[in-house]
């Protein structure tokens, strides 16, 4: 059974790591739980013991010796609690299993001074309850009771975000909790002989690190060690460790004491503990450095904001992802200076870069500075693709003047082009343009009149490359099919092997393609 649980966690370790946001988003919960089970597995596999009691003791001790991290320590306590119960049993039946889970729950809760719900504690509690209810409901079949427990565990995992705000904000379920459910999956597979069904319904998705880092507390060194051959008063020792830091676990088993503490002074903790026995498995990680840096950035955020005028849902998402406030507006739908001013205020920054992304909006944008308190700097981008290219230089926490200069510098190196469609028979400069023709502009000048998007795009691409370009970015408009764009891209790539081509769905109306070359 230990082997089955180990195999189940191993199969899911990456997924559990990915979810790890609480208490510290260091992405190692799955690994820690796996190493803990691995230790129990190494001890028990292929061995035979004189009695259930002896086997249980050996397994519990090995798990404790191998426990790593918060989640590993709690898991080791669950194993220990279950083993203590099972040591007295002759066989593993439905009732014994339910009692084992209750033992696991007891040990897990009592290993933590302040139990937090929405974590692996809640999951083992719900699983134990489901197992007990199944047994009391008259179910004597071991595999169906294990099945009920694993089902309840997964349901409980899905509810963890309701109980723990940091999970909710990150949009994930609890990693340790999922680990417990996966262990039960392994046990179920073992007793029922059935394959574990891979969760059809995804419980998880990658965490939103922004949300977590904004929330998270940076504090001290994560310090873990074992005191082997412990000689002294465990109570007194425990009190001392609790007083010295946070996220404390002290777990004693015979003469081995496992300690996990987040402390400002790992040296003190180690030398104190060294007085009680031989130290082993010492691990000290500085949690403060990275986290503090991130948080400081957060607090000083929005020294510089960006407002981008844009059309199309794809473009909006791209700008927002890079930190701009988007105002709907562009060709055929120009925003007013008041609209832009409102968006500038929305950034809540004292200096704001305005990206008009259309030549008709540039003059309006230049008026906005007079309407708001913030310092407004217009980077006169003339299409949406150019606006996105300029965003690459944006750094919300950088020195505003330097960032603005960087954005202006990028803007100066850009070549913009777009393909649109003539809405009537007309004359542009020297050229007759029939209604429905595809026309291409390069740097605002008419450069192509063709029957199709493809042809117009190629004419533009050739001209752009003639001037020299390293990177070409294309934004697909709402009227251009993906397959058609693929065909255009094939031809563009044939023109120049060295060119790096990047494509995004912009969804802008009127322009099947907008291009920017750098």
């Amino acid at each position: 059974m230990v082997s089955a649980a180990h195999a189940a966690v191993k199969a899911q370790v990456a997924r559990i790591d990915e979810l790890n946001v609480y208490p510290v988003p260091d992405g190692d919960t799955g690994t820690n739980m796996l190493l803990t089970l691995g230790s129990a597995l190494d001890e028990t596999s292929g061995k035979s013991y004189g009695s259930p009691e002896e086997a249980s003791r050996a397994c519990a001790r090995a798990a404790l010796m191998g426990a790593r991290g918060n989640s590993g320590v709690i898991l080791s306590q669950m194993i220990r609690g279950a083993c203590e119960v099972l040591a007295d049993r002759r066989s593993l039946d439905a009732e014994a299993f339910a009692a084992g889970l209750e033992g696991a729950r007891e040990r897990a809760y009592s290993s933590v001074r302040e139990p937090i719900e929405g974590t692996m504690l809640t999951v083992i509690k719900d699983a134990a309850r489901a197992a007990r209810e199944a047994v009391e409901g008259g179910d004597a079949d071991l595999s169906s009771v294990v099945g009920a427990a694993r089902q309840a565990a997964h349901d409980s995992v899905r509810r963890t975000p309701e109980l723990l705000a940091v999970l909710r904000e990150a949009g994930v379920v609890d990693a340790g909790g999922l680990g417990v459910a996966v262990v039960l999956d392994g046990l179920y597979a073992c007793v029922s002989g059935q394959e574990i069904e891979v969760a059809g319904e995804r419980e998880d998705s990658a965490p939103d690190l922004e949300a977590i880092h904004a929330k998270e507390e940076a504090w001290g060194y994560c310090t873990e060690f074992l005191v082997d051959g412990f000689d002294g008063d465990v109570e007194e020792f425990t009190e001392h460790v609790y007083a010295s830091g946070r996220s404390v676990f002290v777990v004693a088993d015979d003469d081995v004491v496992k300690v996990h503490v987040h402390t400002q002074d790992p040296g003190e903790a180690l030398s104190y503990a060294g007085g009680f026995g031989r130290l082993a498995g010492v691990k000290v990680d500085d949690m403060e450095v990275q986290v503090l840096a991130r948080n400081q950035e957060k607090r000083s955020a929005a020294r510089l904001g960006v407002v981008a005028a844009s059309r199309g849902e794809g473009n909006r998402a791209l700008f927002e992802q890079m930190g701009a406030v988007v105002i709907e507006g562009g060709q055929g739908e120009n925003p007013s200076a008041a609209d832009l001013a409102l968006a500038v205020e929305k950034t809540a920054a004292s200096a704001v870069v305005l990206l008009p992304n259309n030549k008709n909006i540039v003059p309006t944008a230049q008026q906005v500075g007079e309407l708001v308190d913030a310092q407004v700097h217009v980077v006169p981008t003339t299409n949406i693709a150019a606006g996105l290219a300029v965003m690459v230089g944006y750094d919300a926490e950088g020195e505003p003047e330097e960032v603005i200069e960087e954005m202006l510098e990028i803007s100066d190196t850009l070549r913009v082009a777009e393909v649109t469609r003539s809405v009537r028979d007309t004359r542009l400069g020297e050229r007759e343009v029939p209604e429905g023709a595809y026309i291409g502009f390069l740097g605002g000048e008419l450069a192509a009149v063709e029957d199709g998007v493809h042809e117009a795009a190629l004419v533009l691409a050739k001209k752009i490359m003639g001037d020299g370009a390293d990177v070409l970015t294309l934004l697909r408009g709402e009227d251009l099919a993906e397959a058609e764009l693929e065909a255009i891209l094939d031809d563009i790539r044939d023109l120049d092997d060295d060119l790096e081509v990047e494509v995004r769905y912009g969804g802008q109306p009127l322009y099947p393609l907008q291009l920017v070359a750098e």
Partner: protein
Amino acid sequence: MTTAVVTDSTTSLAPGVLERPDVRVVPLTFHFGADETYTDKVDMSNEEFYERLRDSDVFPTTAQPAPASFGGAYEALSDYDDILVLTLSSEFSGTHDSAVRAAGMVDGPVHVLDTRSAEMGSGLILLEALRQIDEGGDFDEVKRAAERAIGRARVLFAVGTLEYLAKSGRIGRAQRLLGTALDVRPVLEVAGGEIVPFKRTRGRKRQMAAIVEKVRPAVEAGRPLYFGHIAAPELLSELAERLGVEEKLVAEIGGVVGSHVGLGAYGVAHL
């Protein structure tokens, strides 16, 4: 007065350094999943490592050496009057802590310095210390040379993706290079012990141009350079060419640092 030097395996070693009797290198380890543990630059060839990195969907993790590993190195050098220890930046790893803790457990003077750098950066710092030793400097002179180099060392490097650094949690302030919706090719700097953002660029050429621009003053001043890469020798040659220098020192970055910066990274350290 004799001085020996201990460093960790994340320091790039110039040819001949490893063979010196007065130098010991303490390895870090890296891991693919929970089952596979490798000693940095020992258990797996760089080529093999790069291949694993390319093919594996598991991100490798890394671990600092135990104090005992440092202790062993100190004891092996107990014939020397002084031992200078140069470790990977303590912002990246607990290696420095291990070295310090081990220093407290042995007799004899062991002085641990945090290089505030890694790979080519700490490689140059190590070379400065060794040069001082070879010139017959006493311990204080050796230590001062190392400290001076620590104060000057900068590493500029380009990564193909920020994914590895982001996953590894070693990204610090360079976090702000993330969050872009277009493909960017970031240039990062190791300065003051941490990874700081230098520039977001678009396209390989501009990425390299940003490094060239930043490093050129050091090149013109004739400062020592140390190039390094992870499976990107051609890019490195191109960089050297654009800087107008020969690649005298080139490091193939090992598994531990490689686990954090990913394939295709390249750069140059200078003092």
